[in-house]
């Protein structure tokens, strides 16, 4: 909402400075977005007299002017066709900034003739697009005067942000009311006196749908003279960014912004004898003022005569029934339109207008007739004419809304002690009624405040005028003496996993929750995850997996020349639209080499075991029972089928998948290099068992030395080493504490279908040192168990 300081002062008698007004507006909830003082930009421009204008010796289109600025006479080369001896124009001296051409003026030579300063057009001062010539001022304009002042461009423009609950502030009068309530002056908005008409209105007015258009008032004004508006009106409209059109249209626009009261003026010669607010049928056409033709879908509120629609009620009038220079008799409409229907109609047809903006937020039903009267007065004053009586269709709205208010609530809800008398003064100055009952007060709500519907709203009104800054900050009472932990298990797990993965060398990424459905399809995406209105086709599906986003990120980093890329993200995946379909997943991704080339380390590409290590690290950090996990070699379809696996607790409970990404998917995603990833399903990790306290079981340590024995087994290539290790560990759970795989060998010396696996077994005596016989027994049982489990044999 834009208005000028001068405009405001027509409604508010105040001695406050612009700065005070600005600060107060923001303080009471009408946030100032900008203040544009044209006096600043126009300061260098003054009135000058062209003493002489002669032809430039070397250029047909240029003139050499001697210009009297009031201080001196300077020579200016000017290209304007209307530059001539004796005229008065607007001069900008050397050193001044000309905003319309973004130029700092400097003395120069133009085609060999010295030129200092500039005679300006309207466009050069950003006043309009007018650039056919320089500005010509009246002959009696004083030389040296400030151009801003003599042109009436010395009125600062204030723009404020209006929250949707404040339609009353969409008129300057409403803003003045708020400022007066805040103590910044007195409201001086002129009262409206009814104008008796000359005979009844000959045009019938009807409203067919009380919901869509509850009230419709109008009158005929005969014998008006349309034409350009007076300068003051044009300036005011231009200042707030509106283009002056014609006197009659400008008057309606003026009242829209002055009183938040949209109006419409019809050329009475172009409409029938009945004007009716009705619902549209499907397929009617509206030839709107914006030059476009709209086809109704049915249900919109139309203003129509017997023949055809004249416009969308509350949104936009029609092209065919509008006023023109030739218009003599006019019909003026002041009506009420339903906010929801207005908004829907506007949205449906993509129509924005100042009227829609106001009607969809709520227009004061008590000002329908007053608005019409105000318009009548302005039209009679500026365009002449004789009005008819007012005709009204529909109902004048019922009495004001009433809200029960306990003044003590300002303190108990708002935290600020405001005496009831003060609250009453504030509310009354805002136009609320105050009537004291036995136990409480009944506040009646003015028609321009449709947002107020309860006591909390009244508290806000009192507080915002009294000042939010007066509310004392009160510490929140402490609930416990020492802060307790407040995170859920899931949250602490996520925290631990992030920190752990970062210590493992991975960088935490945060990527979109949505992705490209064409990629998502390879990762379990389905139609149930599609967005209806994605921001782009690359982000049209909720992600079923984090990996594709990480792959894309790794690819971008790779393109920038990074190597050894390691990323992770702990975040959501979506399997459907339900609450339980959102899962919490930690995903890791590595692309390229393990490390950069190093003198001590064998550099090499990452492989599935790196992904497995990342998965195990994340699981361990999350508190999963890592020692009890089983490795299955099946994994989701986006992994390489032979180089991937899942980590499970029992056959059904999958805690993680990991492995190389499927080569076909890498081709689809256009990524090259070694690419491995893991996904840890944090929600699947079982809750830790409840313990009775923090104390841990007693620790019993043996001082007896451990024994280490190495074995090598020949097993079939297809047999999992994990099975061998499990058999070895299981052969004597009491004494065998650890089994490490130190060698896996295939090749020369071993039959082609087999591999040799070397394990180091750590054997711990419990009560006494082992005898040779004890050890022999343990080793024999181990060999027997491994051979039985794997079908292999000890390598001798």
């Amino acid at each position: 909402m834009k208005f000028t300081l001068g405009w405001l002062k027509q409604h508010l008698d105040t001695t406050a400075t612009l700065a005070e007004i600005s600060e107060t507006l923001t303080r009471i909830g009408l946030e100032v977005e900008s203040i544009d003082d044209p006096r600043e930009a126009l300061a260098p421009f003054t009135v000058a007299h062209v003493v002489s204008a002669t032809q430039h010796p070397d250029a047909d289109r240029l003139k050499v002017c001697m210009v009297d600025t009031g201080k001196e006479v300077v020579q200016v080369v000017c290209g304007a066709p209307n530059a001539r001896t004796g005229m008065k124009g607007v001069f900008a001296p050397s050193g001044s900034y000309v905003p319309g051409i973004d130029l700092l003026l400097k003395p120069s030579k133009i085609r060999g003739v010295e030129s200092s300063g500039m005679l300006c057009s309207e466009r050069e001062m950003l006043l309009s697009d007018e650039h056919d010539g320089i500005i010509e001022l009246d002959a009696d304009t004083p030389i040296g005067a400030s151009f801003a002042e003599i042109a009436g461009l010395d009125d600062p423009i204030i723009e404020i942000a209006i929250t949707p609950n404040r339609p009353d502030a969409l008129g300057v009068a409403g803003i003045a009311r708020d400022l007066a309530a805040a103590g910044l002056g007195t409201v001086i908005t002129p009262a409206i006196t009814p104008i008796a008409g000359d005979g009844p209105c000959p045009i019938r007015i009807e409203t067919e749908d009380q919901d869509a258009c509850p009230l419709f008032a109008g009158r005929l004004i005969k014998g008006v003279k349309n034409g350009p508006s007076p300068k003051w009106l044009q300036l005011r409209l231009k200042a707030i960014g509106l283009r002056p059109i014609s006197l009659l249209v400008d008057i309606t626009n003026y009242i829209t912004h002055d009183r938040a009261r949209p109006l419409h003026v019809y050329d009475a010669a172009k409409i029938g004898t009945t004007v009716r607010a009705r619902r549209a049928k499907a397929g009617e056409t509206v030839n709107a003022l914006d030059g476009n033709i709209y086809e109704t879908r049915g249900g919109e509120c139309l203003i129509a005569d017997d023949n055809s629609p004249l416009g969308f009620g509350g949104v936009m009038g029609g092209e065919d029934s509008g006023v023109s220079e030739e218009t003599v008799d006019i019909f003026v409409e002041s009506a009420l339109f339903d906010p929801i229907l207005t908004a829907e109609t506007g949205r449906r047809h993509g129509l924005l207008s100042d009227a829609r903006y106001r009607f969809e937020r709520g227009v004061d039903p008590g000002f329908v007739v007053d608005g019409l009267t105000l318009a009548t007065q302005m039209i009679m004053d500026l365009a002449g004419g004789t009005p008819s009586e007012i005709k009204i269709a529909g109902k004048i709205p019922e009495d004001a809304k009433k809200v029960t208010f306990r003044p003590a609530r300002v303190k108990s809800l708002g935290g600020l002690d405001v005496p009831a008398k003060r609250a009453q003064a504030i509310l009354e100055s805002l136009g609320f009624g105050w009537s004291e009952g036995k136990d409480s007060i009944t506040v009646s709500v003015p028609g321009w405040r449709p947002d107020i519907d309860g006591e909390a709203d009244i508290v806000e009104e009192v507080l915002r005028i009294e000042g939010y800054d007066k509310i004392p900050a009160t510490p929140l009472p402490r609930t416990v003496e020492v802060a307790r932990s407040t995170l859920t298990l899931d949250q602490t797990r996520a925290r631990a996993v992030k920190r752990r993965l970062a210590t493992e060398g991975l960088y935490e990424a945060v990527t979109w929750s949505f992705m490209d459905s064409r990629v998502a399809q390879y990762f379990g995406g389905h139609d149930g995850l599609m967005l209806e209105n994605p921001i782009s086709s690359e982000l049209d599906m909720m992600r079923p997996s984090i990996l594709p986003n990480l792959i894309a990120a790794a690819g971008r980093n790779n393109d920038r020349g990074a190597d050894g890329i390691a990323l992770f993200e702990v975040g959501p995946t979506y399997q459907g639209q339900g609450i339980d379909d959102q899962a919490h997943v930690a995903a890791t991704l590595r692309l390229g080499n393990k490390t950069s080339r190093h003198w001590r380390e064998a550099a090499g590409p990452v492989d599935a075991y790196d992904a497995k290590a990342d998965a195990l690290a994340a699981l361990e950090a999350a508190g999963a029972p890592v020692g009890n996990l089983q490795v299955y070699d099946e994994a989701p379809a986006w992994y390489h089928p032979g180089r991937s696996g899942t980590l499970r607790l029992g056959p059904k409970k999958i805690l993680a998948s990991f492995g190389e990404l499927h080569p076909a998917i890498m081709r689809h995603l256009d990524v090259e290099g070694a690419l491995v990833g893991a996904e840890v399903y944090l929600d699947a990790i079982p809750q830790p068992k409840r313990k009775s306290g923090q104390s841990r079981p007693a620790l019993h340590l043996s001082n007896l030395p451990a024994v280490e024995r190495d074995f090598a087994f020949i097993i079939n290539r297809d047999v999992a080493v994990g099975d061998l290790v499990r058999a070895a560990l299981g052969s004597d759970r009491k004494h065998i504490s650890q089994v490490d795989v130190f060698d896996v060998y295939e090749g020369q010396g071993i039959e082609p279908t087999a591999k040799s696996v070397g394990i180091a077994v750590r054997i711990l005596p419990q009560e006494k040192t082992f005898t040779d016989k004890d050890l022999e027994g343990i080793c024999e049982r181990l060999v027997a168990m491994v051979e039985k489990a794997t079908g292999g044999r000890l390598r001798r």
């Binding site: 908004a343 909390a456 939010y468 009160t474 802060a483 945060v510 990120a553």
Partner: protein, 356 residues
């Protein structure tokens, strides 16, 4: 005879140039068939008188030879160690094996900081689904259909499901308020951080961003407490003595009265400094929970009241750590993560400092 023997042996010991040569001398003198050993064996054939005289002499000779060997051995060992040490040199300027560390994303770090602050204020951390229904995202928050406030949110919608219901991607974290009030009995103190979605994209808007919501419900919580709470956590978060705050009346359908909150800041050498100076910077919206919202959650507004606030988590990170563009937060550029990310073990704590 023994004098000569001793002289010869001592000379040989002295001449030994290695531990092996020295050992050869030892064997020659004191080995089973050694010269001194041989003489000692000769003692048996001597008369007692001769033996009384020769015995101690031979013993002393043996001791002297042993001592000389030990002394020479120490010298040779020192020399050998010196020689070895002279050989054994590593170039310690060579780089060690890389043990790479990753980084924690600023969003996670700031979330940890805020969780720490709010734990001290007694707030639990609540979460909710991202794909929400209309009721929780709008209706229960006093944003009825057709309300102009719905147009304030550039909402993403899911394709309607098989029942025809059209879900939304939550446009704010406020639905978590609703879910919390529906399932918990007051008193309630929660923060609800998380992903939120709006169809918007420029330097400070991305289609996905993070908000943090706060909700306090009890019997006598008023707007003064809201101010006190915000002042406490904003000061703690920005690690300044006390931020200056400005409450501006505003409008949110789910709060009444409502306010937008500015905090003081200043621009010094092109860097934004929060908590100093006299310029204002908008950081969040807040207010007293609208009675309609309490009613929608079946909380009696005649008994309970409280406040709610909502701030941009990413924006808080930007203000604190100086990022000027939101988009790189979600681009996973390793160079950005390296620069703006956090060491994995710099876990924010109240005792150790949030950003130390």
């Amino acid at each position: 005879m023994t004098d000569h023997l001793e002289t010869t042996l001592l000379a040989e010991i002295n001449a030994a140039d290695s531990l092996d040569a020295l050992d050869a001398v030892r064997v020659k003198a004191l080995g089973k068939k050694g010269l001194v050993t041989g003489q000692m064996k000769g003692l048996g054939s001597m008369s007692p008188e001769e033996r009384r005289e020769a015995g101690p002499a031979l013993n002393q000779l043996k001791n002297r030879i042993n001592d000389a060997i030990a002394a020479k051995k120490a010298v040779l060992e020192t020399a050998a160690l010196d020689a070895r040490l002279a050989e054994e040199r590593l170039d310690m300027t060579l780089p060690v094996s890389p043990r790479s560390q990753g980084r924690i994303h600023p969003i996670s770090q700031v979330l940890d900081e805020l969780s720490e602050i709010f734990a001290d204020l007694g707030f639990a951390v609540a979460e909710g689904p991202h794909i929400e229904d209309d009721f929780h995202n709008f209706t229960a928050l006093n944003i009825p259909e057709h309300h102009p406030a719905r147009q304030m949110h550039d909402t993403f919608y899911m394709r309607p499901d098989e029942t025809g219901e059209r879900k939304v991607l939550r446009t704010h974290t406020s639905p978590v308020q609703i879910r919390t009030m529906q399932t918990q009995t007051p008193p309630i103190r929660i923060i609800a951080p998380g992903r939120t979605f709006r169809s918007d994209s420029d330097a400070t808007h991305t289609p996905m961003f993070h908000q943090i919501e706060g909700l306090v419900i009890d019997k006598d919580i008023h707007m003064g407490h809201l101010k006190g709470c915000l002042e406490a956590w904003l000061s703690a978060f920005f690690e300044v003595e006390k931020v200056k705050m400005r409450f501006r009346p505003s409008y949110f359908p789910f709060t009444e009265p409502s306010a937008e909150v500015d905090i003081n800041c200043t621009l010094r050498d092109g860097t934004l400094i929060v908590g100093e100076g006299d310029d204002w910077l908008e950081v969040m919206g807040c207010g007293m929970v609208n009675p309609h919202v309490l009613t929608a959650c079946e909380v009696d507004p005649n008994i309970y009241q409280g406040f709610a606030f909502g701030a941009g988590l990413d924006r808080l990170a930007m203000l604190k750590y100086g990022m000027t563009d939101l988009r790189p937060f979600f681009e996973s550029d390793l160079r950005w993560l390296q620069h703006y990310g956090f060491q994995p073990l710099s876990v924010p704590t109240l005792a150790g400092g949030l950003s130390s």
